[in-house]
Symmetry: C2
Subunit: 421 residues, 2 copies
């Protein structure tokens, strides 16, 4: 139990590491490098950021980012990389997430001392678990809403991302749900455009979902993308709840922290967090933040599902990074767990039955949503065979049988491995 917020950074600097770390601490607490009236030793002790540790990592040949500056004496030395831990009293920020954001991120990335700066982790004191409600549905609630136990949720994203009318969207949803899916979602590009107004699209898709639910006894979860202005989002959330929907999707980086917190206060359904724009924070090894740090803000804000990309994805991210993100989602944030605070990782991007075993094996859990597009729609036996191939693949993985062996008696899996392997 501590009352301090901890953050860990990767830095690169030509300054002596102690000087560089002190500059970070100064900028992010008193906010100035020089002694000024009012900044007493007592004040600094109580409110100054504390340098918790400095781990020298290595010397590097060249500065990673341009325009850093260093004292003349250091010009001849090579830059060093280090890990730096800082901490702040919760007295500095209160339990306000936006204030923590300004404190652990803020101006650090612009300080002239540094030629690389990444936030690697942030740890919140337990107070924050009281200040923010966290995910309302998380893993257990999502399973309850969908009626899926003991295996991953199988989902898909409606494509093409834009252009379909509400009726065309509903027809596609009909095909997908008939194929046996647990979960469907809008693309992050689909919001509330003139050709597919949210209310009409939502109603059309829900009518399909209800029809299938009457048949199967299970209601497919539809993550309808409400990302937009807060007043409109609130109306759309009301509609979703009133109409028996169970989920809404938010594009986290555009809605923003305050917007997501406001929606969580208002929402009676699960909140599906899309990370579009995440590349801005993750793509460079020299600037940005880790997903480990990133997802903690959104979990506290109340998101239930967090996108983590997928193994062998169509993007740049490496498999090791994808699995680290998924593990982060399933790792509790607080020691004193008064409620479940882990969230469901969402795998997507080029996913098929082929990656199922490694996904399940790497995660050591079936508490995730597995979204496939081509892996379902482009299955040689059609969408239903595509969904069947995914169930087969996860059944095999759970039983410790190789997909190859299991495929010998499961033709849909066999066809998937051949088509997508």
């Amino acid at each position: 139990m501590t009352d301090r917020i901890f953050a860990t950074y990767l830095i690169e600097t030509r300054y002596p590491l102690e000087v560089a770390a002190a500059a970070m601490a100064g900028e992010q607490s008193s906010g100035t490098f020089r002694a000024i009236p009012g900044e007493t030793p007592e004040l600094l002790k109580r409110f100054g950021a504390r340098v918790e540790f400095i781990d020298d990592v290595m010397e590097v040949e060249n500065e990673a980012l341009p325009f850093s500056r260093s004292p003349q004496a250091a010009k001849a030395t090579k830059p060093r990389r280090a890990r730096v831990g800082l901490s702040w009293s919760v007295e500095n920020t209160g339990t306000v997430l936006a204030s923590v954001w300004s404190t652990v991120l803020g101006n650090l990335f612009e300080l002239h001392h540094f030629s690389a700066m990444r936030l690697l982790d942030v740890t919140f004191p337990d107070f924050f678990a009281d200040a923010y409600p966290g995910p309302a549905f998380a893993v257990g609630g999502t399973r309850h809403l969908t009626g899926v136990e003991g295996r991953p949720l199988i989902g898909t994203i409606i494509k093409p991302s834009v252009g379909l009318t509400p009726e065309e969207t509903a027809a596609l949803a009909d095909t997908l749900i008939a194929a046996g899916l647990d979960f469907i979602k809008d693309d992050e590009l689909m919001g509330n455009p003139p050709h597919s107004p949210f209310e009409r699209r939502f109603e059309a898709v829900m009518a399909v979902i209800d029809r299938h639910a009457d048949r199967t006894g299970r209601k497919v979860m539809y993550a309808a993308n409400i990302s937009g202005d807060v007043d409109v989002m609130r109306r759309q959330l009301d509609l979703i709840d009133r109409r028996g929907g169970t989920c809404a999707m938010l594009v986290l980086n555009s809605v923003g922290l305050s917007g997501v917190i406001e929606i969580r206060r208002h929402s009676a359904v699960a909140l599906h967090g899309h990370r579009a724009g995440w590349g801005l924070f993750s793509r460079s090894p020299d600037i940005g933040m880790s997903y480990l740090a990133y997802q903690k803000f959104w979990r506290l804000a109340g998101i239930d599902h967090m996108h983590v990309n997928g193994l062998s994805n169509k993007f740049c991210e490496q498999d090791e990074s994808v699995m680290a993100s998924a593990h982060a989602c399933l790792t509790p944030m607080f020691e004193r767990a008064g409620r479940p605070d882990t969230v469901m990782p969402v795998f997507s991007s080029g996913q098929t039955a082929v990656q199922a075993a490694d996904t399940f094996g790497g995660l050591g859990s079936n508490d995730f949503i597995y979204c496939c597009g081509g892996g379902i729609m482009a299955h040689p036996g059609g969408p239903a065979a595509g969904v069947r191939s995914l169930h087969d693949a996860f059944d095999a993985a759970a039983a410790g049988i190789s997909a190859r062996d299991y495929a010998a008696t499961h033709p849909e899996l066999e066809a998937a491995l051949q088509a997508f392997g």
Copy 2:
């Protein structure tokens, strides 16, 4: 007049440039690289992103960012940098800013084709000027509220950033306002912490402001930092308005687009936009976005003042970039200007009388806020002499007289040039 959204990017890729641009367009409209059912030629023509131009810039030796991929045939070729223009029908997004954000940023930064990706500019069709109210006060309103005409507003940031009690903050504000300032603001690290609850701090500072206003006839603008949860921000905005405050500050990157739009709907005071965290988007030449693009989103959302750093600042940003940002703020966004939509740039970070002439000269306008800390508090003649030195410096610049010459008859300016030059 167009109904399309335009965006320009800097890219780096080993793919043929046409293939790379087509991948961007595909990901950000249909959302998939392969032909799928429902994606008819008519649909693509109407809703597909259009590649407007590709300007080959140059070949580079090495890939800037790791983990891009390219076809085997391209492995031997060197990466190329290019400028690419894309456009989308407003039918794709409607006039929803969050949807535009997902469309012009979104997954682009993660596409495996690219080893560099920056958004350079975005242009909104005139519809957006009707869909969003834009800045309510902007330049003229801010001048009206502060009673400052014909010169820049002189301001400061209360430091130390954290730790002062409301009473200590008010005492410091008293000194600063007595010195003749037009504008004071909270630091972005100061929000609503236990040691300085927002309501108590705001009331204490406003009492000081009112006392001076009775004396001078001008009310100093106090940008009180409300960044936090939306419900609390709304209550704080109400308090500011009820108590006769004229401004609230928002940390744009933590409050987020939807949060800022919601606050603008609710606000009767000027909104001061702080860009803490901006380094995440700007520091690397290989990933991120330009300030030109960035500030357009916030202006549409309704921000009146935008931080742009300052000349010879304590951070990494180069002077040329600072002035380009300030120019962007004072450049109208829409051809059909039914209302003023330019916003006031805010210069800060190590500013003193020394940079005044270049700031005024570079901008060709005195429509800006000029925030100094040490340039006022550390002036050898005290804070009032510090403020006087700034007025002198801008008077000289407006009269086309060099600061050096003007200083001969203006001792406060002379002292500032000696102390800070």
